[in-house]
Amino acid sequence: MNSEYIVEMRNITKSFPGIIANDDVTIQVRKGEVYALLGENGAGKSTLMSMLYGMYEPDRGEIYIRGEKVVFKSPSEAAEKNIGMVHQHFKLVDNYTIGENIVLGIEPMKKKFGIFPYVDMKEANEKIAKLSKDYGLEVNPTDLISDVNVSIKQRVEILKMLYREAEILIFDEPTAILTPQEIEYLLKIMEELKKGGKTIILITHKIEEIRKIADRCAILRRGRLIDILDVKSTSTQEMANLMVGRKVELTTDKQPPKFGKTVLEVEHLSVYDESKVEVVKDVSFKVRAGEVFAIAGVSGNGQVELADAITGLMKAGKGKIILNGKDITNEKIRQRTEDGIAYIPEDRQKYGVLLDFNLRDNLGLRKYYKPPFSQNGILKFSEFESYAVRLIDEYDIRCGQGGLTSLRSMSGGNQQKAIVGREIEEHSPLIIFVQPTRGLDLGAIENIHKEIIAERDKGTAVLLISLELDEVMNLADTIGVIYSGKMLKVADASTLDSQAVGRYMMGVTEA
C-alpha cells in the first residue's frame, strides 16, 4: 500500500437512473496539496466527491483514506475520517445562527442540574470565535444565517469543516457566486489552509482558479477521467480543450452595436418584497434597440426583483416603467407580453416551464389563448403541433417524442432551448434574459450566447441579468452594476474592466 496518498479513489463507477455519472474513475491525492477536478456541468465531479463524502456509495470501486480501505455509509462516517465538504448549494438553516449551523450534527452537550442534557452554545461559540481568528475567517457566531451574505455563508461552511477537525477539505464550485475580490479572499484562505497542512480538493469549471491555486488537476468529461495534469506545465487553452473534448472559443465574436431608439425606460423604480423591504431602490436606466444592456451584481442584490417588476411578476412600488413610449407600470402580465416583452426567467423550472405538460403545450404557452391556437375558447391542437415541429427544428430542441415529449424527461439544456425559442418567437422589441446559462454545459452556453447576440443584431433590445461576470463582460454593450438594490454604475462596456465591475459589485464606488 502506497501511503504517499491521503486519498485514493480507485475504479469508481456510479450510475443514477438513466445516467452513468462516474465510469471507472481513479484519482490519487497527496497530503497537503491542492488537487483540482476540472470538468463541465454534468461531468461527474460533484458525484465523485459526494461519494468521498459519504453522500452516496459507489456501485463499484474502492476508496482508501491514508492507505486504509473505507466504506462510507453516511457523511458522518466520512467526517470521522476528517473529511469535510463545502457544497455548491450551501447546506445551511436560514433561521439558525451561524454558531448553531456549525455545531448542527455534532452538538456539544452539557447537563443542567446534572440530569437534563442541553446543547451548550456558549462553549461552541467561543470555540468558533477562536477558529475564525486562526484562519482569518471573520464571522459573528450569533448572527442569523438569513442576515448574512453569500461570502459569509461560505465562510460558515468552511468553519463547519474546521470545527469538525477536517483534514481533507472538498470545495464544490466555491467561486461561482463570488465577486472577483471575494474570490481573491477565498483563494488566500485556501493558501492559509494549505499552509496549515490541510489537503484541498477543488471542484471547478473555471480554469483560471486552477492556475492560481492548484498543484495538480484531474479532468473529467461525461463521467470519465480524461487526464491528470501538472498545472504548472499545462496551458489554459490545452485544459479547456481537454475539458470540452473539442476546440472551444473562449469569447463570442460580435460586430460593433447599431443602437436604435429607446425601447425600455425605467424611471426611479422601487420595488418592495413581501415584508415591505425595499429591494430595488430608485433605479433608472434605458435600453435601446440593438443593445445588450447587462446588469451585473452579486446574487440577492435586487436584480431578480428588478426583472420581475419589469415583466409584472412583482408590483412596482414607486417609479415608472415605459415600453416604447407606453407606460406599462401597472399593466397585467399578459398585456405586457402583448405589448412586447419576452422573458427568460432565472429559475426555469419554477417559472419558465410547466414540467407536467408536454413540450407542445409549453411551446404554446405564450400563444394558446388566441387564434389560431384557439378559437372561441376551444384549443386547436393541430396548430400547437405544427408550431412545435417548427420550433423543435429551428432551435434544435432534442426530445424523444416530438411535441408530445413530457418536459420533465428533457435535459435542462433542452428545456432552456425550448424557453429561449418560445420567447424569441414572440419577436418582441424587448427580451429579458436572467441567468440564461445557469447550470448548462459549455456547448449549450455558447449556443445561447450566439442567440443573444443574434437578437441584438436583429435590432432587439436585450436586457441581460447575470451573476457570471465573464458572461457580462463577454456580451454587454452597456453595463449596469446593481448593489443592494441600487444601480451603482451605468457605463459603456468598453470603459470598464472586470476588476472595476467587481469593485462596484461589492459596493465600492471610488476607484
Partner: protein
C-alpha cells in the same frame, strides 16, 4: 358569577387536551411533514387507550383512576404506532403529505369503528360501536380554588390536565434545548443541511411524526375521559383540525399555541354558558358549538398572511437529489 367560573373550568378542560394535540402537530410540521392527520392520530390513540382500559376494567382490580393513567400511556403508544403509516407514506413512499393526512383520517375512522364493533361483539356479544369509559374524577386545590375568578382555574381539575402540562413542558424543552430538537427544527427548514452535517434527516422526521401521533393520542383519550365519557366514532368531532388551526395561529411555536388553545376553550365554554345563562333550549347549543369553527375562520383571515410555516414542510425530500 358561577357561569364565569364554569366557563373557565370547562374551558381549560377542553383547551388542554386540544393543546397537546396541537403540540403534536407542531412536532410533525416543524420537522417538515405537513400533518393533517392529527384527527386520525387522536382517534386511533384514544381507541388503543380505551381498549386497554376496558380490558383492565374487566380483568384487574385496578382503580378507575389508575386505569386512566395506563390508558393515557397506551394512547400515546397507539397514536405513535399509527403515525408510522403517515411517516412511511410521507418519508419513504413520497406520497403527497396532504393526501396522506386525509387518508390516515379516513382509515382511522373506519378501522377504529370496525374494531370497536368487532371487539364488542366478541367480548359482550353486542355489536355496539362504543366503549363506555366514564368521566375521570376531578379535584380542586384547597384554598386557592376559593379565590373568585382565579380560583376557577384550580377548581374541578382533571388530573390529566396536570400530566399534559408536564408533558408539554418536556416537549418544549426537547424541541428547543436538546440536540434532537435542534435537528428536528432544522429538518423543517432545510433537511439537506441535517444530512450534510451528519444527522439523519429521515430518522429525525420519522421520530417527529411518531411523537406527533403519540401526543395526539393523549389528547384523544383525554377527550374520551372528559367530554364524551366513552370511546365511539363521535370522537371524530374535528378537534384534531381545530388543533391544527391553533398551531397555525400559534405560528408553529409551542407557547403562543398554548394561549390560542386557551382562547378556543374559553370561547367554546363561554358559548355554552351564555346559552345556559340566557335560558335557551338545548337545541340552541348546536349554534354555540359552531363558535370555535367560525372563530377559527375569522382568525385565519387575519393571521394567515403573516404566518411563516416551516420552509420545507410538505415537500418530498429526496436524499439523492443533486
Amino acid at each position: 358569577m358561577s357561569y364565569i367560573n364554569a366557563m373557565i373550568t370547562s374551558g381549560l378542560a377542553f383547551a388542554i387536551p386540544l393543546f397537546i394535540m396541537a403540540v403534536g402537530g407542531i412536532y410533525s410540521e416543524k420537522s417538515g411533514i405537513t400533518n393533517l392527520a392529527v384527527e386520525g392520530f387522536q382517534g386511533f390513540g384514544a381507541f388503543c387507550g380505551a381498549v386497554v382500559a376496558v380490558f383492565l376494567g374487566m380483568n384487574t382490580g385496578l382503580s378507575s383512576s389508575a386505569i386512566i393513567y395506563v390508558a393515557m400511556l397506551f394512547s400515546f403508544i397507539g397514536g405513535a404506532i399509527y403515525a408510522i403509516i403517515h411517516a412511511l407514506l410521507c418519508i419513504k413512499f413520497r406520497a403527497d403529505q396532504v393526501i396522506s393526512g386525509v387518508v390516515i383520517n379516513i382509515l382511522g375512522v373506519a378501522l377504529t369503528t370496525f374494531l370497536t364493533t368487532t371487539i364488542n361483539t366478541a367480548l359482550f356479544g353486542n355489536a355496539s360501536n362504543k366503549f363506555t369509559l366514564g368521566v375521570s374524577p376531578r379535584f380542586s386545590v384547597p384554598g386557592i380554588s376559593k379565590i373568585p375568578i382565579i380560583g376557577a382555574v384550580f377548581t374541578n381539575i382533571y388530573p390529566f390536565e396536570i400530566i399534559i402540562l408536564i408533558i408539554a413542558v418536556y416537549a418544549w424543552y426537547l424541541m428547543y434545548k436538546t440536540k434532537f430538537g435542534m435537528r428536528l427544527r432544522a429538518c423543517g427548514e432545510n433537511p439537506q443541511a441535517v444530512d450534510a452535517a451528519g444527522g439523519d434527516g429521515a430518522k429525525t422526521r420519522f421520530l417527529a411524526v411518531m411523537s406527533s401521533g403519540g401526543l395526539s393520542g393523549i389528547g384523544g383519550i383525554c377527550f374520551a375521559y372528559s367530554l364524551l365519557s366513552q370511546f365511539s366514532p363521535s370522537i371524530y368531532l374535528g378537534y384534531g383540525y381545530l388543533a391544527i388551526a391553533a398551531m397555525i395561529f400559534g405560528n408553529w411555536n409551542i407557547i403562543p399555541t398554548f394561549f390560542v388553545c386557551i382562547f378556543f376553550g374559553i370561547a367554546r365554554a363561554g358559548g355554552y354558558q351564555l346559552c345556559l345563562a340566557m335560558g335557551l333550549a338545548s337545541i340552541y347549543s348546536d349554534l354555540f358549538l359552531m363558535i370555535p369553527y367560525i372563530l377559527t375562520l375569522l382568525l385565519l383571515m387575519f393571521f394567515s398572511k403573516r404566518n411563516h410555516p416551516p420552509k420545507a414542510a410538505g415537500e418530498v425530500y429526496d436524499k439523492g437529489k443533486r
